[in-house]
Amino acid sequence: MLENKLIQPLNVSYSSDEAGSERADEAAKIVASGVNVSYAGRPAITNVNLNIRSKAVTALIGPSGCGKTTFLRCINRMNDLIETCQVSGSITLDNEDVYGDDVDVVVLRRRIGMVFQKPNPFPKSIFENVAYGPRIHGQANKGDDLNEIVERSLIRAGLWDEVKDRLDAPATGLSGGQQQRLCIARAIAVEPDVILMDEPCSALDPIATARIEELIDDLKTKYTIVIVTHSMQQAARVSQRTAFFHLGELVEENEAKVIFTNPSDDRTRAYVTGSIG
């Protein structure tokens, strides 16, 4: 317990007192230390040390190919699905080693949900999409319990009013923005602690994007959220903490407003002002 709290991000410096004191208040939900990932021997990210704060939005930004997705997928071990992918270092969730020998990825992924870049509803009804997780985890199999979970999840995802009259309609008939909110509803139906989002708005128009951003802001009261985004405006709007990745390295992590107004690393400054990318 203590040990994990002692691990500090190596290459992060806290300039403002305010940021430091806030840090002390909030426990780190996820602690990554010395994380290296390589694909078929080629390193993708090296020595990433990052604390992810509970019940807040952490944005991962950086140029294409810098390893944001790779890092995100380490957290819920989705990288296990890629045969060539090798992960070393440690990642803990509530001080428990995510890569521990006796960790069941089924349980892990129930606690760490994921929303993908392109909305990927299953070719089933709206209801069945949301009920999918609860069914496989045996939270509820039928009847009122399941109906309640589905309704609650859709309400939280801000989709209920739009779909309550057509829960049996195919999910693929929804608009892109609705599909993405459905995917969020599907993720929260299994009651995770953490939601990972990989560019969740990149396939959406500005209005749908705004709705998702509102939703993310709302969700952070209950969930720890890690979001990858290419939009600096989005990162500034939704995140409390922002981490900048560059060429497989975590360059800097800090309060969002510090990263965007007064970063300590020149590379971060260059990226957020738009001169590298």
Partner: protein
């Protein structure tokens, strides 16, 4: 000057272009005309047949004995042309074939698409293609010489009476023949299900087999059904295996242990040997051919439409 150099080469080029176009057009025209011609002759000869035998008797009659008299004054001058026993026989053998090939084909496709490593895949896929490349006459004598006696003997051991030319034997071998067709279509279809769906399911904590059962297969099912329709069409039109392994007598039965005959077998029987060309017996082959053509056409069109729609859905 410049205008003349522009115009001088033109006529030749235009000529060549036109010539190439004309040659290519006539080649495809030939293919289309032949197809139209065959269908037209099927319809024409079948129409002649239906002048002497009512279409009602043909489609709903349950007795098939096409022996007609060779001389006008012979007794029993007209045969019976009720094709139901042939349709049922064809259906019975095809059903046995599908019962074998659908599960084997689909399961092997699931294995190949979802579980097999690239190494295994590159070894098993060509092997399945070899299975598809075996001439059907080889399957035929395999059925007649190996499978049929084995089944018949096995029947004796367990006290069942199994005809030597049972629908079961022909159907089993036909099923083996169709496995590669079903497995390669299903493999394509399963591979066409986007990975994003698998990741979505795994991301929710589903295991690999849960993901396959609950997401991949339901998503692939329409396409696989289309593939099975195509395989059915292939089974119904298959000739060589049934000529060698199925019976000749038109028994009307749904028991796969008995001998049945099929539409294709009867066409072969009707047209081999010396025939009067305009006897009902000969013309009956055209009527059978037309019926076969209609059924396989519908199955092919519906099957390939479904498969095509499926692929487009996930483009």
């Amino acid at each position: 000057m410049s205008t003349s150099s522009l115009t001088t080469r033109h006529p030749n080029q235009i000529l060549v272009e036109r010539l190439i176009r004309a040659i290519l057009f006539s080649c495809s025209a030939v293919a289309i005309f032949i197809t139209v011609g065959i269908v037209a002759s099927l319809i024409f000869e079948a129409a002649l047949f239906f002048q002497s035998v009512s279409i009602f008797e043909f489609l709903f009659g349950t007795e098939w004995s096409p022996q007609t008299a060779l001389r006008e004054d012979q007794v029993g001058a007209s045969g019976r042309f009720g094709a139901v026993p042939l349709f049922v026989g064809t259906g019975l053998i095809s059903t046995v074939a599908l019962c074998v090939s659908a599960p084997l084909g689909i399961f092997s496709a699931i294995y190949l698409a979802e579980y097999a490593s690239d190494g295994v895949r590159s070894f098993v896929k060509p092997l399945l293609e070899i299975l598809a490349g075996i001439p059907t006459v080889v399957y035929g004598f395999f059925a007649a010489i190996v499978i049929a006696p084995a089944i018949s003997d096995f029947g004796k051991v367990v006290g069942l009476e199994v005809a030597y030319e049972s629908a079961l034997a022909a159907g089993l071998v036909m099923g083996v023949m169709i496995i590669p067709l079903i497995s390669s279509i299903s493999d394509d279809i399963i591979k066409a299900v986007p990975d994003s769906l698998r990741e979505g399911s795994r991301g929710l904590g589903a295991t690999k087999s849960e993901t396959i059962r609950r997401v991949v297969l339901p998503a692939a099912l329409p396409g696989i059904a289309g593939g099975i329709l195509l395989a059915t069409s292939r089974a119904i039109g298959e000739t060589m295996i049934v000529v060698m392994a199925a019976g000749l007598a038109a028994n009307l039965t749904f028991n796969p242990l008995e001998a049945v005959t099929t539409v294709t077998v009867q066409i072969v029987v009707l047209l081999t040997g010396d025939q009067e060309f305009d006897s009902p017996k000969t013309l009956a082959a055209f009527a059978l051919g037309l019926a076969l053509f209609c059924v396989t056409l519908v199955l092919n069109v519906v099957g390939s439409q479904i498969v095509k729609k499926f692929r487009e859905q996930y483009d």
